[in-house]
């Protein structure tokens, strides 16, 4: 703290720092302002919003958009599916990654170099879209949630991070366990995993957020509306301008429908983003720890 005191800097440095802080402040504003705009706009009557933009005349404010979005079934189906897919994906993926990283972290593991090559090759070379798609369809996994969960469940990059973390754990721990007669599984489950909470938390967070926010795999593999994750429902509302029919069909004119469809976008953005935005600050303390844990040293 002491050495960061502003008064200790020379004049030129002060000017330089102030410029820097102003830029940082502008960056922070650039993040906050668009979000605030969306939040405020989501409450404003569509006609007013289109004609005069944001207003703080509260008589023009309305909850219509929220009522309509929340009354829509497809959004809830999307939420439910996304929660299921993201949780299963996170559990499967973190388990497989942590398991695989353990032998790969041991100096005495025979075949380590060979397996390492097998894994690392897949980081830089792959079959690509169509061969993978043909395989998934041959396996009968089209329209099944496993099509979006299994192919990406093992991430080599995350395995390397977990491996680096294991390597930082004192070897005495394992030697002591071996003296006590514990086998590999017992040591892993009872002693190793409990001291790995930071890296598990970070990997789980990454995988959860990654699955929650992705849409490509679901777009190509899941056709049933009942299986679509939230992002695909959002895509039809936000990108394709095709709100779920029940949301706007009672409006008389095309213009009205278009305005309402526009307003629904704002409410949809807020409702769909809220869960993660409320949750992530609780994970902040793990960010630094996990990143340091995984700071891969080449």
């Amino acid at each position: 703290m002491e050495n960061n005191k502003f008064s200790r800097y020379g004049t030129a440095d002060k000017a330089f720092l102030i410029t820097g802080y102003i830029l940082l402040g502008l960056f922070v504003l650039a993040i906050i302002v668009p979000m605030l705009y969306i939040i405020v706009a989501s409450f404003i009557d569509p006609v007013t919003l289109q004609n005069q933009g944001i207003t703080f005349d509260f008589s023009k404010w309305t909850l219509t958009a929220y009522e309509r979005v929340l009354a829509n079934k497809q959004i809830w189906v999307g939420f439910k599916n996304s929660i299921i897919y993201s949780i299963i994906f996170t559990v499967v993926s973190v388990a497989i990654t942590m398991l695989c990283a353990y032998p790969m972290s041991r100096a005495d593991f025979k075949g380590k170099g060979f397996f390492n090559i097998i894994f690392v090759i897949t980081m830089f070379f792959g079959g690509g879209l169509i061969p993978t798609y043909l395989l998934i369809s041959k396996l009968g996994m089209l329209n099944s949630m496993w099509a979006i969960i299994l192919p990406g469940a093992f991430s080599v990059w995350n395995m390397i991070i977990a491996r680096t973390y294991y390597q930082g754990i004192p070897a005495e721990l394992r030697e002591a366990a071996e003296v006590d007669g514990a086998n590999d599984v017992e040591f892993f489950a009872k002693i190793l995993i409990p001291v790995c909470t930071p890296v598990i938390a970070v990997l789980a967070l990454w995988q959860f957020v990654g699955m929650w926010n992705s849409y490509f795999d679901a777009m190509i593999y899941l056709n049933d509306a009942s299986k679509q994750p939230l992002q695909l429902v959002l895509r039809s509302i936000l990108i394709q301008n095709q709100p779920e029919s029940g949301m706007i069909s009672d409006m008389q004119s095309t213009a009205q429908r278009a305005q309402l469809a526009e307003l629904l976008k704002y409410a949809t953005i807020i409702i769909s983003s809220l869960p993660l935005l409320v949750m992530y600050p609780f994970f902040q303390r793990y960010f630094d720890a996990g990143i340091m844990a995984g700071s891969v040293k080449g």
Binding site: M1, N3, N4, R8, G10, D13, G20, L23, F27, I31, I32, P34, M35, Y37, I38, G53, I96, T97, L99, C100, Y102, P103, M104, K110, F119, T122, F124, F125, G126, G127, G128, L129, I130, P131, T132, L134, L135, L150, P151, F154, N183, V185, N213, S214, Y215, I220, Q231, L234, I239, K265, S272, S273, L276, L277, Y280, P281, I291, M292, S295, G298
Partner: protein, 308 residues
């Protein structure tokens, strides 16, 4: 040579003993990951063969007719090839040049903030966009830049940015920095926090100015990380994401927004042209590999032999 035989025997016996003792490591620990890797990564590599065939889904790979490099020739000689390639390269290279320094600058600035409370609050805001999905981000971009949207109101114009090919790259790159720079700064911030406090103290007492301090204390603390991140980013230039480009595409901005990844998707899954699409995908992967090797080699040269 009885001696060598004996050692061979011994090492074989040792290996068997090791496998017997540690079979769990292979079956339970490594097994699941290996299985997924073989099924979902290596089997599709075999599927690349269809790039050299007139692939017929009913006849399969064994029954389809071989056509050699026909599909590669078709792609390389098509008038759109250069445009898709350039669109991909420009988007990625400009994105890297603009986007790469921002997290480092953010981290250096955050590191100079005296109060850790303020620093934490700023970080919380900087990380926030990372938790917004690509679809929502693109939805926001479309709203903010729409003809009646706030940006046009501010500028007093009625421009439809998303239909302008010349605006696509700026939109893509700027929104990428908006979303990712804060999150990418974490690792630099963490490394800087661990940089020796005493060294910085000493540098300040010596009367070093900010630039000298950064050069002597902060840059060494993050240099390796910067190099690795740069190699990885540069080496992945051709694998620039499908999801965002596709979500920002409109019929009218395709001239600059159609990249190889989106073209592969449209040709393959929308038009069902499996072989052609696979050939383009393979072409893309190979260019990517070549770039990775080039970047790694040149960084090694500049960085005292240290690369990936």
């Amino acid at each position: 040579m009885p001696l060598k035989e004996k050692t061979n025997n011994n090492s074989l016996r040792n290996t068997l003993l090791y496998l017997k003792q540690h079979w769990q490591l292979y079956v339970l620990f490594l097994g699941p990951a290996l299985l997924l890797t073989i099924i979902f990564k290596y089997i599709p590599m075999g599927g690349i063969l269809i790039a050299f065939q007139k692939y017929n889904p009913i006849k399969g790979i064994l029954g389809s007719k071989w056509v050699g490099l026909k599909y590669f020739e078709r792609f390389l000689s098509s008038p759109d090839f250069i445009r898709y390639l350039l669109n991909t390269l420009k988007l990625a290279v400009y994105g890297l040049l603009w986007g790469f320094p921002v997290p480092i600058i953010l981290a250096l600035l955050l590191n100079r903030i005296g109060s850790s409370k303020i620093k934490q609050k700023i970080q919380l805001v900087l990380y926030m966009p990372n938790f917004i999905s690509i679809i929502v981000l693109c939805g926001m971009v479309r709203i903010l830049l729409s003809v009646n949207g706030p940006i046009n109101m501010l500028l007093g114009t009625k421009l439809n940015f998303l239909t302008m090919p010349e605006a696509f790259r700026s939109i893509y790159i700027a929104s990428g920095i908006w979303q990712g720079a804060g999150w990418a700064s974490i690792m630099y911030t963490a490394a800087l926090a661990n940089a020796s406090k005493e060294l910085k103290e000493a540098a300040m007492i010596d009367g070093a100015n900010i630039f000298q301090q950064i050069k002597a204390v902060e840059w060494p603390a993050i240099k390796d990380m910067v190099v690795i991140q740069f190699i990885l980013a540069a080496g992945n230039i051709m694998s620039i994401g499908f999801e965002k480009a596709y979500a920002l595409q409109t019929d009218l901005n395709l001239h600059s927004s159609e990249i190889i990844a989106t073209y592969v998707y449209k040709k393959g899954l929308l038009d069902g042209d499996y072989s052609f699409s696979t050939a383009i995908g393979l072409f893309n992967t190979i260019i990517n590999l070549i770039l990775l090797i080039i970047v790694n080699q040149s960084v090694k040269k500049m960085n005292d032999g240290k690369g990936l």
